[in-house]
Symmetry: C2
Subunit: 322 residues, 2 copies
C-alpha cells in the first residue's frame, strides 16, 4: 500500500502488496488461489471456472498467468498447487502417495514436484494425490481439505465426505487416510443436463433461482430406495418431461436428488454408523448433510474452501526450503 | 434411367429415377432414408449421422434437402417420417398415441401430421410416437420397427428389446404394445466417454478395431450383479485407468458391458421368462442378444433398419390419400 498525501490508503499502481507465496487449489471444474503473507495472512483471494478438465498440458501456465496477472510481484514467487492440475493430463504429473498414510507427507517428504514454467516469476510446485490399490481409487485435492480439517479436529476418527464433480469418501483413523471411495456424481449430473436428451427437461429449471426442495427430497428417496433402477429412471424423467408430468424447474432438483441418493446407496458401507464430516461448498454440501441427516446420521459440516486453504498452509510449512 | 446410343444404361443427369415416395427414420443420432417405387421396391438408400439431437426446428428441412439433394424429382414427393424428428424439440411435434394400442394406427387414423416446408418439392408427414401414462414412458421410431417385426411375425407375444441411444423394451400381446420401458444407456455411454473424466481411459481404445469381448463380459457381469453400485463403479474405472490397471482398449468395452448389465438388471422384470426379440444393428444388438442369452433367455434377433423400412411401408399403406 502507498499512503497518499491526504493520508488515505490507496492501492498501488502494481496492484496490491505482493504475496510471499501463493496457494492454489486447482480442481476439475474450478481454480482458487490465495495470496499469503510470510505470516500466512490472506492478502487476496481469486476464483474462476478455469477447471483442469478444460486445459491441456501447455494451457496451465498461461491460464494461471492470465488469472494472476495483477497479483504477481516482479520477483520469483512460490506457487503451491493441489488438485487435478497434478494429474497425468494436467500441468505436470505428481506421483500418488499410497494409502494408508496421513493426508500430507511429513516435512521433507511432502512429495511436491516442480512444474515446468517459462515465466521466471513463477516457481510452481504441485502436491501429490493419494491412491488406494484395492479397490482402486485416487484423489487429488481432497487430501489438502482433509489435512485442513484434521488440523482443526486432530482427534477425528470416522468418514469425511467431500461432494463435488467427483465425490470422495475418506475413512480416517488415527490421523491417517486408511481407505477411500469415489463416485462420478457431479460430473454425471452435468453431463446428463448438458449432453443428453435430459437437457430438454432440466433446462426448464435454469434461470429459476429457487431450488425445489421437495423435488430434491423426492429424487433422493427414489435414488436411495432403487439405485439399481438408475438407467431406467433417467429415461423416465425424460418421459415425464414430454408428458408434462414434471413442472418446470423441478427436474434439475429431482435429478440431483436421484443421483445423490444413488451415491449414498452405492457407498452405504462407507457411512452407515460412522462418525461423519461433510467438507464442501454451499449449497451442495448442505444437500449431502441433509441427505445423511435424513438417514439418521449426524454429520458435521465444514467449508471445503477454508479447509483447502488450511491444508495448503500446512503443506507449505512442510515444504523443504529451496 | 436413360439408354445411351451404345445401349448401356447410365444414370440420368438429374440423379436416378425419382422415387414415388420417400421413407425416413430420423432418430436421435442418425437419419436413414429410402426412395421407394410405387410397388415399394427400394430404389436407393441413404444414411448419415444427422441426428435430431443436433438440430433445431428450423434446421430439419434444410438438413433433409441437403441430404436428399440429388434424390428429389422436380415434382412434389411424399416423405413419411418416423422418429424423434416428431418430438416437441424436433421438426414438428406429432402427438403420441396412448398404450395399449397397435404400433400403428388403422388406415385413416394413422395420426401422421404434416410438417411445415418451404420447398414445394417436399410433402412431409411425421408419424406419431407411443406414450404410456404409468409408469411414464414414450417412444418415437421404435413403433415402426415393432410394426415391421410384427408384420413378419404376426403371432409374436412377448417382449421386444430395441437397443440404441435410448434403449426401449416393449411388451407385446395380441398385436398390441401393452407396456414399455426405456433406459438412457446409449446416450449415457456416449456422454461418459465424451464429456467426463472417463474420456481419458476410454479414449485409449479408440481407433483399435478389435472389441474386447472378455472386458465387455466382465463389465456386463458386474453391471448385472451390482447395478446399485453404478456411480461408484464409474469412478473406479477412472481410478483403474490412472493406476494402470486397465489395459488400453479394454475400458470402452468394459464400460459398455457395465451399462448394458445395469440396464438388464434395472429392467429384469421386463424380460425374465419372456419370449424375446432384439431389433437393432450389429454390433450393439448382438451384444444385447449375447447378454440375454447368457442369462438363459433365447432371443431372436432381427435387423432394426430392415424392420423400420417394413414398418414405414406398412404405415404408408395406411396413410389416407391426400
Amino acid at each position: 500500500m502507498v499512503r497518499r498525501a491526504d493520508g488515505e490508503a490507496r492501492v498501488s499502481d502494481n496492484g496490491r502488496d505482493a504475496a510471499a507465496w501463493i496457494a492454489v487449489d486447482w480442481g476439475t471444474s474450478r481454480l482458487r488461489a490465495w495470496g499469503l503473507s510470510v505470516e500466512n495472512d490472506v492478502l487476496w483471494r481469486e476464483a474462476a471456472d478455469i477447471g483442469s478438465r478444460r486445459l491441456r498440458h501447455d494451457d496451465f501456465e498461461p491460464a494461471l498467468l492470465s488469472f494472476l496477472a495483477a497479483r504477481l510481484g516482479p520477483g520469483r514467487t512460490l506457487v503451491l498447487v493441489a488438485g487435478t492440475a497434478g494429474a497425468r493430463e494436467g500441468w505436470s504429473e505428481s506421483p500418488y502417495r499410497r494409502l494408508p498414510c496421513p493426508p500430507l507427507g511429513p516435512p521433507g517428504q511432502l512429495g511436491a514436484v516442480p512444474a515446468p514454467t517459462r515465466d521466471a516469476r513463477l516457481d510452481v510446485h504441485i502436491l501429490p494425490g493419494l491412491a488406494q490399490a484395492e479397490p482402486p481409487d485416487v484423489m487429488r485435492g481432497e487430501e489438502v481439505q482433509i489435512a485442513g480439517f484434521l488440523s482443526l479436529n486432530p482427534g477425528f476418527d470416522g468418514v469425511i465426505c467431500l461432494p463435488g464433480s467427483h465425490s470422495k469418501w475418506a475413512l480416517i483413523s488415527a490421523g491417517e487416510v486408511v481407505g477411500c471411495a469415489g463416485a462420478l456424481t457431479g460430473e454425471l449430473y452435468a453431463a446428463l443436463c448438458d449432453h443428453t436428451v435430459l437437457r430438454h427437461v432440466t433446462a426448464t429449471g435454469e434461470g429459476t433461482a429457487a431450488w425445489d426442495g421437495p423435488a430434491f427430497k423426492d429424487g433422493l428417496g427414489e435414488g436411495m430406495a432403487s439405485p439399481d433402477k438408475l438407467l431406467a429412471r433417467l429415461f423416465a424423467l425424460r418421459a415425464e418431461g414430454v408428458l408434462g408430468l414434471r413442472a418446470p424447474g423441478e427436474a434439475r432438483a429431482w435429478l440431483s436428488g436421484l443421483l445423490i441418493g444413488a451415491e449414498l446407496a452405492a457407498l452405504r458401507g462407507y457411512w452407515l454408523g460412522q462418525n461423519l464430516a461433510v467438507l464442501g461448498a454451499a449449497p451442495l454440501a448442505g444437500r449431502y448433510t441433509a441427505a445423511l441427516t435424513a438417514q439418521g446420521a449426524a454429520p458435521i459440516e465444514a467449508d471445503g474452501e477454508a479447509m483447502a486453504l488450511r491444508g495448503l498452509i500446512a503443506a507449505h510449512a512442510r515444504l523443504a526450503p529451496h
